[in-house]
């Protein structure tokens, strides 16, 4: 093969017998080879891009954060235990401990108030992401609807700030609060 090619090349270069077809085919092969090398490298680089993994973690953290915040703002007094189980499974760390320790008391309150709370995530975004440490901060705009026992519903928007921690490959909420209004003067 190589010898053939070399012979063809030498023949073309020598010019004693012009063989335009051989030269053309050879040129095409070389061009195709160049493209193949370039495309292969391009593919390799695209497949081993660090930012892709980071982007995937960001989206995963946000999805988990939105779901967790929604879970923690959803509670039906008729299905209390299931709702509170969901609260616990969505959280980790200190927040999780708080929820577990305050569960009985909280359940009693909701039982008495007979409220149905539902939440809808309006928008969410990640502000910080530490891929290695498995920590993320998210902003989640939430609309909470509380239906009282008499059927009257009230809507309220919440500006949530959440902190997520990755445990066993899963992002869970480790802190949750509302963005303070008016800084110090509003108290």
């Amino acid at each position: 093969m190589a010898r053939e090619r070399a012979r063809a090349v030498s023949r073309v270069l020598a010019g004693d017998r012009p063989r335009p077809l051989a030269a053309l085919v050879l040129a095409l092969t070389l061009v195709a080879g160049g493209f193949a090398v370039w495309a292969g490298q391009d593919w390799y680089r695209a497949a081993h891009d660090d930012r892709a993994a980071y982007a995937a973690q960001r989206d995963e953290a946000l999805a988990a954060g939105e779901q967790a915040v929604q879970n923690l703002n959803t509670l039906d007094h008729r299905d209390l235990q299931h709702g509170l189980d969901l609260w616990e499974s969505s959280t980790t760390g200190e927040l999780h401990e708080q929820l577990v320790s305050g569960r009985a008391e909280f359940a009693e309150q909701v039982e008495k108030a007979k409220t149905v709370t539902t939440a809808r995530v309006l928008s969410g975004a990640v502000t910080e992401l530490d891929d290695r440490a498995g920590r993320a901060r998210v902003l989640i705009a939430l609309r909470v609807t509380v239906k009282a026992s008499d059927g009257a519903a009230s809507e309220k928007d919440s500006r949530m700030l959440g902190e997520l921690t990755r445990t066993k490959g899963q992002w869970r909420l480790s802190a949750l609060g509302q963005a303070p209004v008016g800084g110090a003067s509003a108290g």
């Binding site: 085919v25 092969t29 495309a39 963005a179 209004v181 509003a186």
Partner: protein
């Protein structure tokens, strides 16, 4: 591959035609065979030379008719691959090399196309297209400029009413112009009545998505309204406190921005239906 074979055949025929006059004048088959391309390669067997000779000599008899006849015969000879086994081995190896080169070209080209498609598919992944946080410099640039824009666009001082219009002209584009006017018409009127100063400060912001020249930012802002006419009201509509320091209200909005002439302009304001 058959097209290449046709190519080779046509080339050979052309060469045979070129040497025809010479063959006619010399009236000898030997001169034809010596100038035929196949004779120059050492691998050529005597059988091939004979066939080329015969073909060349018959070609001298008739001219145009032979070309078509020749084409037909070569074509029919090329069709059955198994039957051709013998003459191929006897003939020069150049066609084989060309065939291999062609195959290689097709293979390499095919791989190039496939690899390119793969790379493109990876890049088109929505998660990767969104460069929020993955492109930190751009993310913080967008955050900074959006926060500044929101501060200016939602602040109003009744003593300097033109500042708002100026800000709108500089920072808004597209449908955001109308959205901004609708949002602030009420606020402006009330502020003028109460001789109030409304100050908006972005407290938190996060970039949801960056897709090339477009981005969406979630913004939390505080609005304070300080009136000098007695009773104050927050621009959000809640009238609760009436202290002299003013009223604070928290707002949240999602802002679409576009990159134009090196700056990020607000192209859409989403107040989530409030």
């Amino acid at each position: 591959m058959s097209t290449t074979r046709h190519h080779i055949n046509r080339q050979r025929r052309r060469q045979a035609r070129e040497i025809r006059p010479a063959a006619a004048s010399a009236a000898s088959a030997a001169s034809v065979s010596s100038s035929s391309p196949s004779s120059s390669t050492p691998t050529t067997g005597p059988a091939t030379e004979e066939t080329t000779d015969r073909r060349a000599s018959t070609a001298t008899v008739t001219t145009t008719a032979t070309v078509t006849a020749d084409e037909r015969t070569t074509d029919s000879r090329e069709q059955p691959t198994d039957a051709r086994e013998q003459p191929t081995r006897a003939r020069p190896r150049r066609p084989t090399a060309l065939v291999v080169l062609c195959a290689l070209t097709v293979l390499l080209g095919g791989f190039a196309g496939w690899a390119h498609a793969k790379a493109q598919a990876l890049r088109d992944d929505p998660a990767r297209r969104n460069t929020a946080l993955t492109d930190l410099a751009r993310t913080s640039e967008i955050k900074g400029q959006t926060a500044k824009a929101v501060d200016r666009l939602f602040s109003y001082d009744h003593t300097d009413p033109d500042a708002l219009g100026e800000a709108a002209g500089e920072l808004l584009t597209g449908k955001a112009v109308d959205q901004h006017r609708d949002l602030l018409a009420d606020v402006r009127q009330r502020a003028d009545e109460q001789k109030a100063v409304i100050t908006t400060t972005v407290t938190e912001s996060a970039v949801e998505r960056i897709d090339g020249d477009r981005a969406r930012v979630l913004v939390y802002a505080d609005q304070s309204s300080v009136g000098t006419a007695g009773n104050q009201a927050a621009p959000g509509g809640s009238k609760e406190a009436t202290e002299d320091e003013g009223v604070y209200a928290g707002a949240m909005l999602a802002v679409d921005v576009v990159h134009r002439d090196g700056r990020w302009l607000v192209s859409g304001i989403d107040t989530f239906g409030r």
